[in-house]
């Protein structure tokens, strides 16, 4: 009987000791990765775009310990990018404070202390930098999260890897600028007035329609006076007809306007389409000033 009691006491003591040791160990895992919002990116804003998401670390042990995090894309060791077929949109992942995760599942950054029995959240950031461009579409990436115990020795992976999907959306965008000469978009100068001086039959003036877009575009041109230079004060005067060409295409300026479609290169500089305006019959027109307003609208298709 005494032996049985001694055996039971020893069993209880060893069980208790095991339990105490187990809770004393650092036992942190990634308990949750919140859904990562899409990064909606407009290349022509000239601004970086970011979204935040959270990763929760839960320490089921009783001791505090510090952990770091590594995040990798399917192809590691290269700059991180959202992909859609052969097109891509580069981005970075940032730890609070701005440190950038390298695209390597064995290179953790950060150090966060998680108390025993507690859960701690860290807010991470997805950033698409300014000055990038890609065709309008949705781009995606799969992220693998791995936790490391941070100590004075080598970092040791702990817990189970988690995965999450992330995406960037390049919206259909198109911009137009009318310039006096060819150049990068917005350069060398914008032109808001085309002056023929004294009207003469067949006179031609030229300008440049600069377009940049993330998709093929429809270029729609409307004329306030339906393709005529109208006398500024003599409202009943029929005016002087003129014709318009953009990128070699005749653009009728009748009642409904006209549109041409083009596929500009997907670049921030865009493309320069030559535009020419040619004056028609001027015979018998009253003296004075004549004018019209052309409105060039570009829309992504």
């Amino acid at each position: 009987m005494r032996n049985v009691k001694a055996s039971m006491a020893a069993f209880l003591a060893s069980t208790l000791a095991f339990a105490v040791n187990a809770h004393a160990a650092c036992n942190v895992s990634i308990s949750n990765v919140s859904p990562i919002p899409n990064v909606v990116y407009d290349p022509f804003e000239g601004l970086a775009r970011t979204v935040n998401y959270t990763v929760d670390f839960t320490n089921s042990g009783s001791d505090s310990c510090s952990v770091g995090l590594a995040i990798a894309s399917p192809v590691q060791g290269v700059p991180r990018s959202f992909k859609n077929g052969s097109n891509e949109l580069r981005y970075t992942l940032e730890w609070p404070g701005g440190a950038v995760f390298s695209n390597n599942i064995t290179s953790p950054i950060g150090s966060i202390s998680v108390s025993g029995g507690k859960t701690k959240s860290v807010t991470l950031r997805v950033r698409v930098g300014a000055g990038l461009i890609a065709p309008a579409s949705t781009y995606a990436d799969i992220l693998t999260f791995r936790l490391f115990r941070v100590s004075s020795g080598p970092n040791v992976a702990i817990g189970t890897d988690r995965t999450a999907s992330a995406a960037g959306v390049v919206e259909p965008r198109a911009q137009v600028n009318i310039a006096g000469a060819s150049g990068a978009f917005g350069a060398p100068f914008a032109l808001d007035r085309l002056d023929f001086g004294t009207l003469t039959l067949g006179a031609v003036r030229s300008a440049i329609v600069q377009v940049r877009a993330t998709a093929p575009v429809s270029i729609n041109v409307t004329s306030a006076n339906l393709g005529k230079l109208k006398h500024v004060t003599l409202k009943t005067d029929p005016g002087v007809p003129y014709s318009l060409q953009i990128d070699g295409a005749s653009v009728p300026l009748g009642s409904s306007g006209a549109a041409i479609t083009r596929s500009p290169p997907i670049t921030l500089d865009g493309v320069n389409y030559p535009m020419s305006v040619q004056v028609g019959d001027v015979v018998g027109r009253p003296s004075g000033n004549y004018q019209d307003t052309l409105t060039v609208n570009v829309s992504p298709l």
């Binding site: 919206e171 137009v176 009318i178 003129y242 000033n289 307003t293 052309l294 060039v296």
Partner: protein, 143 residues
């Protein structure tokens, strides 16, 4: 209250902010300007002396003027001793006003046209009427 929260949540889910982003397209305006300078001229196309006593002349004048203008029928004041008896019409219209050496048809619309002019005068000497018949002219003045 919970219903309102639910509706707000559904609104955010169904209509995220990106759907209300700026217009995808873009517009640029350009004014096209030009001008037509003033150009006016007038000439006597024909002049027929019907009678010298009294003086009766039927003429045609050609106006080419692209702005509002005045047309003056001019003469030597010395040859018209009785201005009140000098009657001039342009396209059957009396002049707007009379000067000592001209009768003026003012505020004429831009035109390219030939118009009849009549001159009637029953005063002075034959020599004076002859001088008037041979010496009248026209001038055009843009406004």
């Amino acid at each position: 209250m919970s219903n309102i929260r639910f509706l707000l949540l559904m609104a955010v889910v169904l209509f995220p902010a990106s759907r209300f982003n700026a217009i995808a397209g873009d517009t640029a305006n350009m004014e096209v300007h030009s001008s037509v300078p003033i150009a006016c001229q007038a000439e006597i196309v024909s002049s027929q002396l019907l009678t010298i006593t009294p003086l009766a002349i039927n003429a045609v004048v050609r106006q080419t003027c692209n702005t509002t203008h005045d047309l003056s029928v001019t003469y030597n004041a010395a040859s018209v001793i009785s201005p009140s008896k000098l009657f001039i019409t342009l396209e059957a219209t009396l002049p707007s006003f009379k000067l000592s050496s001209a009768q003026v048809f003012a505020g004429l619309e831009p035109t390219e046209s030939d118009k009849p002019v009549t001159i009637r005068y029953n005063a002075g000497t034959t020599a004076q009427r002859l001088e008037l018949a041979q010496g009248w002219g026209i001038t055009v003045t843009p406004r």
